[in-house]
């Protein structure tokens, strides 16, 4: 009877240990598999607190360089919304931000998004989880170039929620996006 009780007390510790070991093995298993190298022009680089990449930045840290094909592989999501920078409702197509973050195994809580014109804004990672924030690549079916704020444009589904229609969200909607630093 007493021995059984002692066993019962030991059991949760044992279980926790097993789970911890399992989680470590999963983490290390993924980290061991790097992203393939980009074949085309790099549209986006993701650096900072990431677990998966395919290159190193100037200071030798892991970096993920993504070309159009790699992004499109994540699947395109459509967001129909009006924005303060366009007249009327627009049809945007792009990859979900949370899919990109998943791909590079981002671990931070904030994202510093930087554009080609050196404009930058900080986004909380929770935004990507809560809303279908996309990195838009197409506008009304047409691939966006630098001249029309491409190649990547952070688009929130503004029309889906009143709370998104404010300046804080607008300044996070970085266009001509080129780099994301996970912090």
């Amino acid at each position: 009877m007493q021995g059984w009780l002692r066993m019962g007390r030991a059991r949760p510790w044992l279980a926790l240990l097993i789970v911890a070991i399992l989680m470590c093995s999963i983490q290390s298993g993924h980290a061991a598999e790097p992203l393939p190298a980009p074949r085309g022009e790099v549209l986006l680089t993701v650096g900072g607190e990431i677990g998966r990449g395919n290159a190193q930045d100037a200071s030798g840290r892991l970096e993920a360089r993504l070309d159009r094909a790699m992004l499109e592989q994540l699947g395109l999501t459509e967001v129909n919304t009006a924005t303060p920078w366009h007249s009327g409702t627009m049809r945007f197509e792009g990859v979900l931000l949370r899919a990109v973050l998943g791909l590079v195994e981002a671990r931070g809580s904030n994202l510093l998004a930087t554009a080609h014109n050196e404009y930058s804004a900080t986004l909380p990672v929770s935004d990507a989880a809560r809303y279908n924030v996309i990195l838009a690549m197409k506008l009304n079916g047409e691939t966006m170039t630098l001249r029309d704020k491409g190649p990547l444009f952070i688009i929130y589904p503004f029309d889906s929620e009143k709370a998104l229609q404010n300046d804080m969200t607008y300044i996070r909607s970085v266009w001509q996006l080129r780099h994301i630093d996970v912090r």
Partner: protein, 480 residues
């Protein structure tokens, strides 16, 4: 000494009180509704203002536009100066970024704001075609035409003044809009303050009105209670006074009878000449007068005594099962002399089978006597008085006394049950009597739970009907 009762005046009429309350509540509800409508619409408008694109972004965009123009030129010059690390691609990218600003001047919120200012609009009209024209020049330069690069730099320098004016203009527009929204905010604040003050006033007004109404209600309640107490007191006093009057009359009537009996007794002795004849025949007449007057007075006193007994509630029924035929007989015995003396014929029409009646025999006799003596009194010589009885369909018993006398008009008929009144006062004076006969009879039949009906026509006689309820009538199948 009974207190004189004066009805109180209520200081506030209850209905006026309720009306004032209703009006107040209506005004209150109306004000609250109006207030909330005003506030809600104000907040709604404010909310819409807030949700729209901020003007700070417009200013930022204007400054960025100018910036990117500068950066492009610097990159181009760097490229032309063959600075290390500046590629043809960099120049092209800088141009594309500058180019991407152009559509902001046509689409979206910013474009609307630029268009709303004629000076900004004019500047853009000048700037935009120049920048667009650089597309081909840049392509030429990147293909090796240095002159095209110089042309772009030259034109770009020419745009500097316009860009400066544009940036300042955009800033001015932004500041103006900001000022407007600040004014709107301050006006909203004043509305809020006014609303708060109005709300406070309403609350205070409501509290005051509530207190006043409460006090008024309390007052009204107290007044009502006092009035009720007064009324109760007055009722007790009135009842006591009425009882005192009846007691007084009963006592006095009794006291009056004692000396009157002495007067009547002595007068009777004198009339009969028990101790020798009365000397002068005139005196004999006077003695007769004394006896008659005395007897009349005695009957009056008896009536008053009965009436006051009934009024004082001192008359109790001593009921027994009695034979109606016998009661009628006894009553006839008492009035036959009077009727014969007057030459009035008395008849009765009683059915062969009569039910037993549950009643007070003395009071029944008195009722019959009252009706009979009235009938005889008001029937001239040669007339007739008839007593009849019948069982009614509902089981009650009706006793009818009909005369062929002078009768009464409708007007007289109405007043005949009032004490001390007689149908025809002229005739009544001739006939004598107290005028209490019918009122007493009515009280007595009512004591038996019955009714009396009187019908009459002038010069066509009068019919009085006593009705006993079915509960007092006992049908006997074998009665003879």
């Amino acid at each position: 000494m009974p207190r004189r009762f004066t009805p109180r005046e209520l200081s506030t009429h209850p209905e006026a009180l309720a009306g004032a309350g209703r009006r107040f509540v209506l005004v209150l509800v109306g004000t609250v509704v109006a207030l909330s409508v005003v506030l809600t619409s104000y907040f709604y408008i404010q909310q819409r203002e807030n949700s729209s694109f901020s003007f700070q972004n417009v200013v930022w965009d204007g400054v960025q536009f100018r910036n990117e123009h500068q950066v492009f030129r610097v990159t181009l010059l760097e490229r032309m100066a063959e600075a290390p690390g500046v590629s043809a691609q960099d120049v092209q990218r800088r141009y594309d970024i500058l180019f991407s600003r152009l559509h902001l001047m046509r689409d979206g919120h910013t474009a609307g704001i630029y268009r709303s200012d004629s000076e900004l609009h004019a500047l853009l009209q000048r700037i935009e075609p120049v920048i667009r024209s650089w597309d081909t020049l840049l392509t030429a330069y990147l293909a090796g035409d240095r002159a095209a690069g110089f042309a772009i730099v030259e034109q770009s320098r020419g745009l500097d003044a316009d860009f400066s004016t544009f940036a300042v203009g955009v800033n001015t527009v932004g500041v103006k809009r900001l000022e407007q929204s600040r004014e709107r905010l301050s006006s909203l604040n004043s509305v809020l303050i006014v609303a708060a003050v109005v709300t406070w006033l309403l609350v205070i007004g409501f509290a005051i009105a509530l207190m006043r109404q409460l006090r008024a209600t309390e007052n009204a309640h107290a007044e009502m209670q006092a009035m009720t107490a007064d009324l109760e007191q007055a009722r007790r006093e009135a009842e006591a006074a009425s009882r005192a009057k009846s007691n007084f009359l009963a006592a006095m009537s009794h006291e009056l009878r004692t000396p009157l009996n002495a007067v009547l007794g002595f007068a009777d002795i004198m009339r009969q000449g028990l101790f020798g004849p009365v000397g002068n025949p005139r005196y004999a007449d006077y003695v007769d007068g004394i006896v008659k007057s005395g007897q009349h007075l005695l009957s009056l006193i008896n009536d008053v005594l009965d009436m006051s007994r009934v009024e004082a509630g001192k008359l109790d029924l001593s009921e027994s099962e009695l034979d109606l035929r016998q009661s009628v007989e006894e009553a006839f015995d008492l009035v036959t002399v009077t009727a014969d003396g007057k030459g009035v014929r008395l008849t009765r029409a009683l059915p062969a089978v009569l039910p037993k009646l549950q009643a007070d025999p003395r009071l029944l006799r008195q009722m019959l006597l009252n009706l009979l003596s009235n009938a005889i009194k008001f029937t001239p010589e040669g007339g007739s008085v008839e007593v009849a009885a019948a069982v009614l369909t509902d089981g009650g018993l009706a006793i009818r006394v009909r005369d062929s006398g002078v009768g009464m008009t409708d007007h007289q008929l109405k007043r005949v049950f009032e004490p001390f009144s007689q149908g025809d006062s002229q005739r009544a004076r001739e006939a004598g009597g107290s005028g209490l006969g019918l009122p007493i009879t009515r009280r007595l039949i009512e004591l038996h739970d019955g009714q009396i009906h009187l019908s009459s026509r002038k010069s066509a006689g009068t019919t009085a009907t006593l009705i006993f309820p079915a509960s007092r009538v006992q049908m006997l199948a074998d009665a003879t």
